[in-house]
Symmetry: D2
Subunit: 217 residues, 4 copies
């Protein structure tokens, strides 16, 4: 019998930061067993097209039963479980290879958006029960995180056996904000706990909770 694999993707550092909290947390979980499946952590480049190729290769090789991609949302106070990926790149800063696309579709003839197929309400519920600050987010931005989230959902779209997949943004680590008053952080252990709980919850079959996670605007 083949082992069940959970692909947990994190990103390399960007925007002059020394570390990327998503990767620091992901590598803590690499190799751990959750709900009968083994977590395999993979680091993605913070580069628009390259990250997508790396993700595609990992999907092909690992054939995961669940995919959680994670990235940093600097300044947020909680782990945010993204609801939707939109079909546009609009980079406020260059990516790590110097590319800065503006209003470019990610997939030329792709749909305007894809919704996460994670049970996002259950995931938030489980994170909070574990003491991890968490919320549903209605936007993953328009930079490499949204790009990879959209590319991930597009790669899986239409497959009969598509695994659940989605994206979770995580805050900065405390060491990154030590000298930045007013900028929130969450420690790597708590981020890792949140991701682990999210994976465990997403591995459990069944429909999502009917519980509001919406935003007035």
């Amino acid at each position: 019998m083949t082992e069940q694999i959970v692909l947990l993707a994190g990103f390399e550092p960007f925007e002059k930061e020394p570390v990327n909290a998503s990767w620091e947390a992901a590598r803590l979980l690499d190799g751990q067993m959750v709900g009968g499946a083994r977590i395999v952590a993979r680091q993605l480049s913070c580069v628009f097209d390259k990250s997508r190729e790396e993700l595609g290769a990992a999907l092909d090789t690992l054939r995961p039963c669940l995919v959680v991609a994670a990235g940093v949302a600097g300044g947020r106070t909680e782990l945010s479980v993204e609801r939707v990926a939109i079909n546009v790149d609009d980079a406020r800063i260059p990516d790590n290879a110097g590319a800065q696309p503006v209003d470019r579709p990610i997939v030329a003839d792709g749909p305007a958006a894809y919704f996460s197929t994670l049970p996002i309400k259950r995931v938030v519920h489980a994170m909070r029960a574990a003491g991890v600050p968490a919320a549903v987010s209605q936007t993953a931005g328009t930079f490499v995180c949204n790009h990879i989230f959209y590319a991930l959902m597009h790669a899986l779209a239409g497959r009969d056996d598509a695994p659940r997949a989605g994206f979770i943004h995580v805050p900065y680590l405390p060491s990154q904000t030590a000298a930045r008053p007013g900028v929130a952080s969450v420690s790597v252990e708590i981020i890792a706990t949140g991701l682990r709980v999210a994976i465990a919850e997403a591995l459990r079959p069944g429909p999502d909770l009917v519980e509001t996670g919406g935003a007035l605007h």
Copy 2:
């Protein structure tokens, strides 16, 4: 020759507020001529399905050459020109008729999202040039504002002669935040100026600016 009409929709008050800044600004502009077209302001109910019927009726009657729907995003500091409407209602609070849908598609078999057809970068640029705090926003939330934005774009989708259309969120008015320290506001004159400038810019043909208005997350 028939007169060109710009439909400017604003909302009635909700969430126990005495006024709705979007409507207060819209009615200041009602009847004004901009770029050869006449602005017709219409107030929408803050009720999921009813607002959509009201908007549909206005589209049928007025046959506008441009549609700008506006609503309040309490707490934001600037006018936000929304980029995308998503196909989900997820109400954190009940609407004015007591309905509180959770994770319900707005259009059962509709696409996951629609992008604004306003030249959003040009609109932001023009607002800022007029001294009006403005930015592109990547989410219109999941309440009645996103609902009407999605319904608007869905109603126009596929029409050969579809007018440009989009949604702009506006902050609270100062009178609403007088006793709420830390909550931002913008005066009604500045909001009205911003909406007027947005309409003028959107009436001018031509492609959008290639200028970043993206978000890292």
Copy 3:
């Protein structure tokens, strides 16, 4: 009979801003009659020692019955009526003459702090009644605003006939934040209304309201 004078001080621009909202509002009020007194607006340099000399000269010349000094607190959402000035300069950036004192007492043997002698709760109450976002603030910072506030109270301390005096911080103007998403502003008319109402209220004798304006931290 001599005319009653209200000295309303505002500051010149600093930190590379093109304007200073405190002065833009003050000069709108210059010469206006409020409660039987005439407002005289004076612009102060954003320079530690020089501003104090300018203020001292204005006090000597005008012999005001009320002194309100105003400055900008960029990023705040409301007019803040300062409660207390502390005896320290600690400059995060250089002043307009290049001086950047760190942890230097303003008055070598002065008390650690002075409280405003404005009826700060009544002033906030009156501003809010006029629809102006307002709150008591527990800190005026440690830059030139706090410096002039402390120097003002020190100059008046111990005088039998000392007029009421205090400091009010005001937000940026909308034109300053047009391209700065997330940074709050208040229009100059509303700031001027707030300062005018504050002056009118402070001119009325009687004790302050017993109404909380405190902060948990």
Copy 4:
């Protein structure tokens, strides 16, 4: 030879919170040796007058060589080393005994303020070097935290052998903000590390760093 004691005070929960981060961190440090001194943690009531009596009794009994009082500043993102305590109680909410003083001096004939006698810049520097988010704060509010900070400094004022003393505000714990999107937290281990580092630094003699920790407003 008598043992050197560091008094580390934390507070009991208030405002309906189940825990108080200042006490959770303080008790982790209770009994630890730092710089040759032993930390003794004491919990204070969140009650205006009672907390002061409790602190006074602890000072008399323990005769500490250093006093650090800590409390929670819910919503802040970093540990804030308070610069100044002001002579006023102005309670936005009742304390745990139901008292809600407004604009009442803490000490009837006391000075308007006391400055911390901790080397606040060195403490912030050391915390940041340890990866702990930290900053100088210019206000400790007007609730029980400021009250105890003022009372502490007043109790020590004028004593020849007065130990260094001051106040540090700490954020909420993650478990408190799990379901509160947008509200920052810091884990108890990081808060405890910050307090430990602060104590170690404050025990080292010598003047403070000349390094800005000021605020523009």
